[in-house]
Amino acid sequence: MSINVTNIHKTFGAFTALDGVDLTVPRGKLVALLGPSGSGKTTLLRIIAGLDHADAGSGRIEFHGEDVTRVRAGRRKVGFVFQHYALFRHMTVLENIAFGLRVRPRRERPAAGEILDRVHRLLKLVQLEGLDARYPNQLSGGQRQRVALARALAVEPKVLLLDEPFGALDAKVRKELRRWLRRFHDEIQLTTLFVTHDQEEALEIADEVVIMNQAKIEQVGTPQEVYDRPATPFVYQFLGNVNVLRGQVLEQVGAPRDRPGTLVADGLIYVRPHDIELAAYVPGAGGAAAVVRYLHLAGPQARLSVELVQTHENVEVEVSRTELAGLGLAVGDVVRLRLRQGHA
């Protein structure tokens, strides 16, 4: 099932949350909706789920060509996983997962035994076998999130929507669980849209990343596309570290020749720290002269802060530690900066 969303407008009083948003999630793909907080991504997700509504007269939502804009949330066949899980705290894991089946009208409801079978299959799928009698507050954050996922899947949804699925977890569990989600998605192949503000998370597991900013979609593409060829300065700055240099340095550092990773817009050059090359300073040899201010040596890459002699701007540079050792730099030394040429 694909999700097709066209022309969604949403305002809260004077605040515009969504400004004519169009979005497509291809069948069976895992798509990340990425943006800073307040960019409208959660609002969009809730409108797709039917928990919120677009402004009157705007918007159309289709699941695989079928218009669901006016269908109630409960009839849209959406699996929704909430940021803080929203598990029913007074029910066991089993009762939580069975809920969606047990509230069905009698003639659509599976037999009690079949419901139990399905719950146990789902528990196995999310690797929580044997925890069916626990209550939510007896589970860890990662386990709760998987119960929430199983509960959403129990009603056999057409699409799966996840709101900041790893937002409330600690860093280590986050990483494990997101890789697990990627493998899980490969297994079940359900059209999935998940909201996140964490670019690393989006770039790591999504088939496609949709980047939102200020109620609009800035760019859509595969993780590599959006990282290597950011369409706008916002996308550039949002995905990883970036230096913003003024255009006057451009002649000195060398114009980027269709090099992925560098963007020239409005007289500014956006360049990633690892796309800058350092060389020993030789007068008249080209490149922008800069003074080394700080050296950070912890981690696989050496990070340097250098100050451009001409404009006094600070520039962050990342080089391999071997490269740095070859240059033999120390704080206070003068270096030449150039943009790396060709493909990295």
Partner: protein
């Protein structure tokens, strides 16, 4: 347990020497504050309570129970039960509905509604009674209409029930609103996406989550409904055996210097208060249990 205490003692600074702890005040401060608090409790709570029972039993158990055989006393107990029996369920339904509306939805005028719910707490109970006299009394707005239809509200049971409902209006809602706000609406949204309708969502998700808070609110509401004096006094008319609730009956007996009977009925109200407090503590305890479960 004993081992824990032993270890605590062994590591406490007192075991090593009289070095004062950084977080403790000198002994005389601690003892004075404790003594003041205990004396206050004794004079303002324990002594009056003891006085009620001593006065009630002054002429022995026979006189004590005789006080309850008086038809007027029985009528006042019956009326109190009727008033509470109507006011508490009504405010239970209203309180849950209002709390649900305020905690789970956004709408214009919400803060006005929240303030209105508190109104009965803010006005004097006597004023609450007078409001009903003004509206339903013979000289009131609807007085003639009521008279024409042969209905009496003031100086009759309906007025007492109305006044009781008014003063106990906020208890359930006040108890539930912060609880439901803290719980948020995510579980309800989850139930909706899973296909539950509004009724199923309420019975299966909302209500189980608030049951202890609800019970707590009902207990407090009931205690107040049975004990209310001021508002009921204004609308009652003090017709013996007809429109007297227990608190009003106590006042009448007392004014007639019938101290044993007055204190006997009062002791019943005091017992009710004690039972209420025990129930309240029990509910709080169960609530804490269900949280740590």
């Amino acid at each position: 347990m004993a081992a824990v205490f032993a270890r605590a003692l062994a590591t406490s600074p007192h075991a090593a020497g009289p070095a004062p702890r950084a977080t403790q005040d000198p002994a005389w401060v601690r003892w004075t504050l404790t003594a003041v608090a205990l004396l206050f409790l004794l004079f303002f709570l324990v002594l009056p309570l003891a006085a009620v029972f001593t006065e009630a039993l002054r002429r022995g158990l026979g006189a004590y129970f005789a006080a309850f055989r008086d038809p007027a006393a029985l009528a006042s107990i019956k009326l109190t039960l009727i008033a509470a029996g109507i006011a508490v369920p009504a405010n239970l339904v209203f309180g849950v509905a209002a709390a649900w509306l305020i905690a789970k939805f956004k709408f214009r005028g919400k803060s006005v509604l929240t303030t209105l719910i508190d109104l009965p707490f803010a006005v004097s109970p006597v004023i609450s009674g007078l409001i009903y006299v003004l509206v339903f009394g013979l000289q009131g707005w609807w007085g003639e209409w009521l008279l024409a239809h042969n209905l009496t509200v003031i100086f009759a049971v309906p007025g007492i029930v109305l006044a009781t409902m008014f003063v106990t209006f906020p208890f359930v809602a006040r108890e539930l609103i912060p609880l439901m706000q803290a719980q948020g609406a995510d579980e309800e949204y989850a139930a909706i996406t899973l296909g539950a309708n509004g009724w199923q969502t309420f019975w299966r998700v909302t209500l189980p989550n608030i049951k202890w808070g609800l019970l707590y609110g009902v207990i407090l509401c009931n205690a107040r409904a049975m004990g209310e004096f001021g508002a009921v006094s204004v609308v009652s008319g003090h017709i013996r055996g007809e429109t007297n609730t227990m608190p009003l009956h106590v006042e009448i007996l007392y004014n007639e210097y019938n101290f044993v009977a007055a204190f006997a009925v009062a002791s019943l109200l005091a017992l009710l208060a004690i039972v209420t407090l025990v129930l309240k503590a029990l509910v709080e305890w169960r609530h804490a249990q269900s949280r740590t479960l």
